[in-house]
Amino acid sequence: MRLSANPTTDTVLKLATVSVAMFAFVFVVMVPLYNVLCDALGINGKTSAQAYTAVDAAVDTGRSITVQFIATNNDGMPWEFRPQVTAMAVHPGAANDTVFFAANPTTQDMVAQAIPSVSPSRAAEYFHKTECFCFNQQPLGGESNTLMPLQFIVDQDLPKDIKTITLSYTLFDVTARVSDQIAAR
């Protein structure tokens, strides 16, 4: 295909198109593709950001999986943040409940966002959350505390060699981000 009768102009137009396309490629292909791949393959330890709808399935009482909980504050986050229990033994297919404790020691109202990560990363796609405080931003008044619920099911199809799953939450301070968005509206 010729874009111009002048061969030099033709070459330049084609190459300029390629470079513009590559710039667009980063935004419209690489970023969504990365997120889709991480979601579909459960790599990077990312769990789904949506609540899981429990399916009717038998509880596999013959297997016991240890689920460990870790809570970390991101740099500069002043909250107290920890799991109420640090580990529990669960059966695949069964719904389990636990809570995380959070306290805001400052005098300001703050908003936090917890970001989950599952290790080993292969287990991420078998770790379903039916309810999680990480699905939403968590506002908390100054000098107050709260218990944040988590309900999860470990899938019956979890590979046999996985006996321990570690769920880690990092808590980010998103107060400034939220107020910016409100101001922008």
Partner: protein, 524 residues
């Protein structure tokens, strides 16, 4: 075009408004040398601080700014523009074209570079200091935790990206449309081939880099969360995008160097290049593979095993075409009538040291071993063997080789050889010990180190001062040649040199090949 057949304009206007490929090439070469000295100064500050353990001269924050700016200035300011300058000078002369295809755009590609680097260098004097997050500018170091000057850094990257893309489009348009009749693709000199492929790499990946810094800009100023986990983004995504640009980038730097060596080794072996066609295919294979190996820079981010294996095997595969090239260069020299003028010495230095750098690259490609080498001085040693002894040595060889043709004057051969030997020895004293401290676990980009690394670091620093000083000798030699070198008038400055650029008068006239040359058997 009344002044078409006249020589250059006079005064500063000649340089500001020139559309002549030789003038623009000269400006690129001088600009890149200035950047080489600037980046070298930053390196000297780094090595002076590391001369002894403990904090000696500079604050840790300033040290980080030095490592960052050293990398950025050397990669984007010194090496890349120097090869663009070489391409400007040589490609029209090698393919029998009167000039580049787009002379006015050529002027722009050069003249937006100095403001871009002025902007980058000015960050040193800003509140909070210059960028201090390493030349790879990983988010969130370069977003959430960066000094405010990062915005100027982002725009500087945009500017030099635009410059590179315009330069590459120009080179491709020239090579595809302006070859002399009879100059088919498979008759082009290898330097032209390597630059053609490099230019395609640049057009493909410089926009990716521009995309990465644009995302940083949006994260910093417009509330997006491409790389911020708190807003649903992912810092690892930055590394994928950066290295999708970054790995082709290292071949953008080294492929023109391969081209230079492929011109010079045959000239001083007095034999045609061995395996011309395989050189072309090897170059193209390396360029293709460069797009599918990027994650070998990030084995430690927690990739699935299948991913680690894929990137490991793909990376190792690059050793095959590279091995073909090294084999061809050695075979070109085999039973040749060798002579060892300065350009040839630098090419042989390149061949030996680049191969060492290639082998350490193979070591780094082994995913399980890389967990030990990652972010240590072993990596620093590896990429300086391929960047300095690879790209810079071949660039130096190119200057010595073509300077007589450009200026009509011969450089001082003895001084050139002294420059080579001081460079070669200084380089190895600097970087060879870094392999050892790296394997023993010394991390890169750290202003202080454990006492056990003291001796090797002192050696490294002494070597760096020797290597740095030898560049002043180089500058003196080049200046002395241009001002008062012995005049040469032979069209073929070197008796073994082949190619169209050796059929025009010496020094090369301001305008060449206004009438396309006829290719005789010797040049076809």
């Amino acid at each position: 075009m009344g002044d078409h057949h006249h020589g250059p304009a006079t005064g500063i206007g000649r340089w500001l408004f020139t559309t002549n490929h030789k003038d623009i090439g000269t400006m690129y070469l001088w600009f890149s040398f200035a950047m080489f000295i600037l980046g070298g100064t930053f390196a000297m500050i780094i090595r002076a601080e590391l001369f002894q353990p403990g904090m000696q001269l500079v604050e840790p924050g300033f040290f980080n700014q030095m490592t960052t700016l050293h990398g950025l200035v050397m990669v984007f300011g010194a090496i890349m523009p120097s090869f663009v300058g070489l391409a400007n000078w040589l490609i029209p002369m090698m393919i029998g074209a009167p000039d580049m295809a787009l002379p006015r755009m050529n002027n722009w590609s050069f003249w937006i570079l100095p403001p871009g680097f002025l902007m980058l260098a000015s960050t040193l004097f800003m509140e909070g200091g210059a960028p201090a997050f390493g030349w790879t500018f990983y988010a969130p170091l370069s977003t959430t935790y960066a000094a405010p000057s990062v915005t100027f850094f982002i725009f500087a990257i945009h500017i030099l990206g635009v410059s590179s893309i315009m330069g590459s489009i120009n080179i491709i348009a020239t090579v595809m449309n302006m070859r002399a009749p009879g100059m088919t693709y498979m008759k082009m000199p290898l330097f032209v081939w390597t630059w053609l492929i490099t230019a395609f790499l640049l057009v493909a990946v410089m926009p990716v880099l521009a995309g990465a810094v644009t995302m940083m800009l949006m994260d910093i100023h417009f509330g997006t969360s491409f790389f911020s986990a708190a807003g649903g983004g992912d810092p690892v995504l930055f590394q994928h995008i950066f290295w999708f640009f970054g790995h082709p980038e290292v071949y953008i730097i080294i492929l023109p160097a391969f081209g230079v060596v492929s011109q010079i080794i045959p000239a001083f072996s007095r034999k045609p290049l061995f395996g011309y066609a395989s050189m072309v295919y090897a170059t193209a294979s390396i360029a293709f593979l460069s797009f599918i190996v990027w994650a070998h820079h990030m084995y430690t981010v927690g990739m699935p095993v299948a991913g680690e294996l894929f990137f490991m095997y793909a990376t190792m595969l690059i050793a095959v075409p590279t091995g073909v090239k090294v084999f061809n260069w050695i075979t070109t020299m085999w039973r040749g009538a060798l002579s060892f003028e300065t350009p040839m010495l630098f090419c042989i230095g390149f061949l030996i040291l680049f191969t060492i750098g290639g082998f350490t690259g193979l070591m780094l490609s082994i995913a399980p071993a890389d967990f030990q080498y990652h972010d240590t001085y072993f990596v620093v040693a590896h990429f300086h063997y391929v960047m300095v002894a690879g790209a810079v040595f071949s660039m130096t060889a190119a200057v010595y080789y073509w300077l007589p043709k450009w200026s009509g004057r011969m450089y001082n051969e003895t001084m050139g050889k002294v420059h080579f030997w001081i460079s070669f020895v200084g380089f190895n004293i600097t970087f060879f010990p870094q392999h050892f401290v790296g394997l023993a676990g010394m991390p890169r980009r750290i202003p202080d180190y454990a006492l056990q690394f003291a001796d090797f670091n002192m050696m490294s620093s002494i070597g760096a001062f020797i290597y740095g000083a030898s560049q002043i000798l180089f500058l003196y030699n080049v200046l002395a040649t241009i001002i008062a070198g012995e005049k040469v008038t032979d069209e073929k400055v070197w008796d073994g040199a082949e190619g169209l650029e050796w059929t025009i008068p010496t020094p090369a006239p301001y305008h060449t090949f206004e009438v396309p040359p006829k290719l005789d058997a010797a040049h076809a």
